[in-house]
Symmetry: C2
Subunit: 205 residues, 2 copies
Amino acid sequence: MGRRSDHTPDALRELLIGCGHDLMAERGFAKFSAREAARRAGYSVGTIYNVFGGLDAYLIAVNSRTFREWSAWLEEALAATSGDGDARVAALVRAYFAFADANRNAWMAIYDHRIDRTTTIAKQDEAAREALTGIVDREVTRWLGHADEPATRRLVRSLIATVHGHCALWLSGSYALMREEDPAGQALARVMEALSAHSGRAAPS
Amino acid sequence: MGRRSDHTPDALRELLIGCGHDLMAERGFAKFSAREAARRAGYSVGTIYNVFGGLDAYLIAVNSRTFREWSAWLEEALAATSGDGDARVAALVRAYFAFADANRNAWMAIYDHRIDRTTTIAKQDEAAREALTGIVDREVTRWLGHADEPATRRLVRSLIATVHGHCALWLSGSYALMREEDPAGQALARVMEALSAHSGRAAPS
DNA sequence: CACACAACTGAACACTGTTCAATTAAAAAT
DNA sequence: ATTTTTAATTGAACAGTGTTCAGTTGTGTG
């Protein structure tokens, strides 16, 4: 078959990303198959290589969709929160976990896909990934009550790593949190301790 | 070829685990191949299935070796530390990172291999995994200066998750810590803040 | 020495990623 | 309206994977 008019280039791109994202959600990274994703879109393997240039780029595109959904999820949760600083941070951490829980396979795939340092990520996809850091940055700055300093940026990254660690070990079912009933609560406790230490306020016990 | 007397059952087990571990260290989880591991041991694929019963069990055995090496590494670092409580905790966190850095592929493979909840882990391998938690438990209890309570155990798991998160994002080269020069230092800072909050002492800024 | 057993093999199967010559629909030129 | 050109799409080919299992062959026993 030759050139088809079923979809415009952009629509085809979106279609393939959509099918890939769905497949990732049901099967997980280990059992993901580009062939199967293409099949579901009504195309054949080669098309994925045509459109994205390679499997890595395709996976990056699929995972970037997850990033976008994740950011939107967090913003919604924050918008639905009417409260002071502490409540907003709590809502953010809880929403972080809730999204990962509701999209286990897709969420884990983000970290399962190891990107070779030589592979360049499309600008738009890079932005989708940085949007998440941006949200945390904004909320932490808001909580601290002062402008964004280099020290705050370092802290933000560290807080993300802290929450990530709890969430990752929780979803992977690792040894650490097997008997922990509220990993999000533990992550939140660590975040509040860190924030308190950086503001001079006392940490809530 | 039939029964050979090259190796006793135990020796063969160890040989296969050793070759698998080496291969994992050079190639990483994604490019690991049971065929290749068997080839290097001088056996064929089927033998791995004979000895371990399946690929999952083999990978668990391989990763458990990494766990054992990791524990030994941490104990050595602690033994070489002559200092007070803070220094021991610092040594522990630094050694955690140093091991992961020196054994990137093998360390990441531990978390890359998702174990189906139905798969049962051999008792000895389970023990190897829990040994690490045990070390942290012991050191945290020592730092806090009081006996092991349920609350302490929860904190220990949370601290492990905190350090894990920093280490994982660092090694995966993720967005969060790309420009962070000392992720271990950040993890340590978070750990000390948490420990301080749980002891009543002031957190060091 | 023959037998029986268990260890070990490797071909078979169904899948994967990746490449690329061939095909063919649509657009452009006649 | 017909031909030519262009580019999108295919799918067979290749090398690799995990997994199974009938068959082969060393080794210990009767």
